[in-house]
Amino acid sequence: MTSENEHTGDTGHGDNHHPHLAHHFETPAQQFESGKLGMWVFLATEILMFGGLFCAYAIYRGNHQDVFLYGYGALDKMWGATNTVVLLASSLTMAWAVRAAQKGQQKLLIGMLIATFMGGVGFMVIKGVEYKAKWDHHLFPGTMNAFYYEGGQPKHPEALPHAIEYIDGRNLGGEAHGGGGHAPAGHEPAEDSPQHEAVPGDDAHAAEHTSAEPASAGVRAEQNATAHLASASPVIVQAVYGAPADVSTIKPPASPADMGVNDAVIDQAGEVSMPSAAHTQILWNDLSSDQQKKVHLFFGIYFLMTGLHGLHVLIGMVLIAWLILKAKKGTFGKDYFAPVDIGGLYWHLVDLIWIFLFPLLYLIH
């Protein structure tokens, strides 16, 4: 940032006793405060930029609560929480790096910066594992998403049943749970049941689904249920399969959970609790045909928000790498640590945004 002034002691003003002081500042303190002020203005614009996405999120979630509740089933709460801890830890080491720079502790400064950088690596690796789990089930951003509808018809009819089976299976199995990485290692739907080639909307094929599906998805749901007995929600509400439209006739996999537990929650009037009002396990056929056409919106928002955030993590990592190189040259000390401080502000903002993204995306209730 001020590298041009680093070794040019002569600023043309005769006050060349401070090598890092640019000639348009009176004192290093004034320079430091000005730099920080500028950074805060920049951070404000960053917040406003993310704000546009948060606004889109608020509108779509407000208007399509069940769609969000359904799509969220593809996310992995435990990976999200792990990534939160990773980012918080890297924020701690960043703040510690600033302290080390302020106290002139060179080795500690470099160590803390490297630890912060590794935190960024860890975050991106976990994010990559999560993205991979989505992509393995055709849950891509934008029009490539398995749930994308065009002109009232699924744009990717061959991928849609797999995606439905994946999310329904997860939703039946309990909470969005740990180990998104192992999900792809499970059944590859394309291989083990040829009925999946059925075009949604074709009633004859859909009927085949009903009879053939329980085998694969039911087993998975059972596995999930066993593995997560302890964490399973006590309240399992399942709405009646209202399936007015042709596209919604793909039956979700039957499972042991279907038989006993769910029925108990239906109240005396025979009415089912509204999915949005309780901690629900919402399935594809619980959505109206109109809602089914909007599921891709959840993934669009998920990928845009986490993608823009991930880009910021990468930029932050580049900044920290640059700080590490500078620190190794001994640039920073008690009198000059503004770049560490300002780079730290950027890193903390990235953390701050994730603090809001995590509950909004991963903890939908």
Partner: protein
């Protein structure tokens, strides 16, 4: 370094004590566990507000201590708060408006049948 403004205590930044950094980190982890735990309890529509309140507390901890706002010039805090304020105006007005035109929207199928 004999200049009046460039002595060792030149007011450049607040040096956070280690106990404070670790304490803030411990609180942040505690609130992360709390916000995950609270999703296993059904509070109805209150869940989202609890989650957001916890996020605001966590964000305040990061801002006040990790980002030194508590020891900084209040002007920096003012910039941050005003950014959130304008964001609230933006999202608030957008949300007030979002339902207004729903009745005017034709279903996509009727607009472009079989265009896929």
């Amino acid at each position: 370094m004999s200049h009046a403004h460039t002595n060792d205590d030149h007011g450049m930044g607040h040096v956070s004590p280690i106990w404070m950094l670790l304490g803030v980190f411990a609180l942040l982890i505690f609130f992360t566990v709390l916000t995950v735990a609270v999703t296993y309890v059904d509070l109805g529509p209150a869940n989202i507000w609890v989650a957001l309140a916890v996020a605001v507390v966590k964000g305040a901890l990061v801002g006040l201590y990790f980002m030194h706002l508590r020891y900084d010039s209040p002007f920096n805090s003012l910039i941050l708060v005003s950014a959130f304020l304008f964001l609230a105006v933006f999202i608030g007005l957008a949300l007030m408006d979002t339902g207004e035109y729903q009745s005017n929207i034709a279903p996509p199928d009727s607009v472009r049948p079989n265009s896929g």
